[in-house]
Structures are given as structure tokens and as C-alpha cells.
């Protein structure tokens, strides 16, 4: 299969076994083939990998940092790092797990450096993707317009995530928002599955307490 075919397949979502809503890639063979091409110097293959994973990587990083500009920078850093270190990728884990690990580590490093510099800049929500049934429920419960509810909730959710420690935030973002499994998160964070479950449980307790007004 040519790289251009792969790119076309990835862009159209046909033949690569990837579903945008799944939150994870189930096409390790395609990824491995692309990685091998990148190792051989094929930039188009790297472009294909970038286009395939940039949104999911952004999702992780953005929800950890709560700042869209910083998230864009960190995602770029992650891809640059992946490109320069791709020779060390042996295929023992899935490529996307490896890529997520780079992005999570980059985010953690960024957060540690920018501990005293916290600005939120939030992305616009895609109204169609914003779980309309949930917004509808909230709108009914509060008696406020949907748009208002959505904006307020967005800010409140970001605040809630920022109250968590980096480790707990990482687990919540990867599990609840990105939809990865406990096992995948354990691989990415280099922790045991039991640790991941414990962190997730504790983080959700904290979030429930912070967001109790919305969880009636």
C-alpha cells in the first residue's frame, strides 16, 4: 500500500480501522507500516501519522493544561520529539501508546515549569459534539439557556480539572475524556493498573465534590 493511499484512507477513515469517537486507534499494523516508512525517511508517512493523531493528542494535552495555545505548542513538541526518537520505537507497545506517553510527559514537564503561570484560554465547543442531551438536561434542571449553560459548564469543568494533581488529572483525562482503557493508561503513565484505578476513583470523588451543583 502506498503512503498516499494510506493518507487518503486515514483522511476518509476508510480501511484503517479507526473510529474518531473511539478515542483510541485499533490499527497497529497500519501504524507500524507508517513508522517503518518514517524510519526510511518518508516524510509523507510522518505527515499521515501527524494528521491521524494530532486531534487526540491535542485532546489529552489541552485538557491537562486548559490553555489552547500552550496545548498546540506542546502537541507540536510531542510530534517533534516522536520524530527525532522514532528510531528508538521498537514496536513493543502500540505506536499511539508510545505517542501518548510522549505527550503526557511533555505536558507534565510543561506544567511543572509553568507552575506560577496559569492562564486559561478555552476552545470553542462544537455544539453538535457537545453531548446535546446532557446540555438539554442541564438546561431543564437550571432553567437557563443551553448556550449559557454550556459556557458556564466549560469553565467549571476546566477549573475542576485544575484542582486535581497532575497524576490524577492525567488519569481522568485519558479515561473519561479520551476513552482509553485502564491497561493503556497504565502503559502510558508507567503505573500499574491497580494504581490507575485508585487514582481514577479518587479523582472522580474530588470532581464530584467540586461539581456537586451540576450533579443533582
Amino acid at each position: 500500500m502506498k503512503v498516499s493511499d494510506l493518507v487518503a484512507a486515514i483522511n476518509t477513515g476508510v480501511g484503517v480501522g479507526f473510529s474518531a469517537s473511539a478515542g483510541k486507534a485499533d490499527s497497529p499494523d497500519v501504524d507500524i507500516a507508517l513508522v517503518e516508512r518514517v524510519k526510511a525517511g518518508d516524510m509523507a508517512a510522518f505527515d499521515a501519522l501527524t494528521k491521524k493523531y494530532r486531534e487526540r493528542l491535542y485532546g489529552v494535552v489541552y485538557n491537562m493544561l486548559s490553555n489552547r495555545e500552550d496545548a498546540m505548542d506542546v502537541v507540536q513538541d510531542s510530534f517533534i520529539k516522536a520524530f527525532s526518537a522514532i528510531g528508538s520505537f521498537k514496536g513493543k507497545s502500540a505506536f499511539y501508546t508510545w505517542l501518548y506517553r510522549i505527550a503526557v510527559n511533555k505536558s507534565i514537564t510543561f506544567l511543572k515549569r509553568a507552575r506560577f503561570r496559569r492562564f486559561f484560554s478555552l476552545d470553542n465547543s462544537d455544539e453538535e459534539l457537545a453531548a446535546p442531551d446532557i446540555v438539554e438536561k442541564l438546561s431543564e434542571n437550571c432553567g437557563a439557556p443551553r448556550k449559557l449553560i454550556l459556557n458556564e459548564l466549560k469553565e467549571k469543568l476546566n477549573e475542576a480539572l485544575q484542582t486535581l494533581s497532575i497524576k490524577h488529572r492525567t488519569v481522568v483525562v485519558l479515561f473519561e475524556i479520551e476513552g482509553l482503557s485502564h491497561q493503556e493508561i497504565a502503559e502510558i503513565t508507567n503505573a500499574s493498573e491497580a494504581t490507575v484505578r485508585t487514582r481514577l476513583h479518587y479523582a472522580k470523588q474530588q470532581l464530584r465534590a467540586y461539581l456537586k451543583d451540576y450533579l443533582k
Binding site: 501527524t50 498546540m72 507540536q76 465547543s125 459534539l129 443533582k216
Partner: protein, 152 residues
Amino acid sequence: MPQKIKLEDLLKLKRAERPSNSDWERFDAELKRRLVREIVGEPYSKRFFDGVFSRTFAVYSSALGILGAVLAIAVAPTFIASFSSETDLSRQDAEFAPSHLPNIEKSFAINELPVSEFDEQTLVSANINSSDSNPVRYVSSSIGGGFGGNVF
């Protein structure tokens, strides 16, 4: 009747926060530029200056600039007022100040200054006869011809 909402439902809303297509276009362009730089291996100096003039630096320098401007605006009126009062005073002083005469430290008649006390910095005036063999030949120029003697 209010409907129960779960935490997991709320967190699903976060999936909807995504950059626009134009954001992704910029992202791709910037990533390509950085990849090329990574492959080509730009000189350290270029990377350094790129780093120095990065967005973060721009934010901090802008903040400093704004702070400086605010301080300047706050302090400038006081400074200008004190400066203008000072210049007014000095202008008044200048109007009434007498013009200074040349400062002559010593004045003596011919042959009064011993050679041992001679100093190049000492301004002297004396009536001097050019035919004298006296080593002193200095006369203040401001009073040069006023004494009717020779001037060297």
C-alpha cells in the same frame, strides 16, 4: 422533574472542545517548519534567538513594557514639574549673575616669583621687560596690554 446527571456525562462535554480547521492549518504549517529545522539542524544561535523571541518572551516583555509605560505616565508629570521649576530658577540666576573676571591667583612685580615656586598651573601677572634675563615671562592675557609692557 429534574433529571439526574452523572459526572461521566459532564466530562463527555470536554470532547467537544476542539480547535477550528484554521487552527489546524496553522498547526500543520508550524509543525512542518519545525520539522524542517529539526532535520536540517539550524545553528544554535538561530535556535537561541528563536527561543528568546518566542511567544512566552513576547508576553513577558510586553508586560514589562506596559508596566514601564504606566510608571512613566505616573512619574512624568512630577518630573516635568520639578525640572521646569529648576530651569526657571537657573534662567533667573543667569539673568542676574555677574560675569566673572579672570581668576588671578598671584600678582607681583618684576622678579618677585622665585623659580622654586614656579608652577605651570600658576597664573601670574607681572610687568615684564623683555630685555630682562628673568625666567618669568608670564602675563595673564586678559590684562595683557593694559600695563603698557611687553606681552609674551
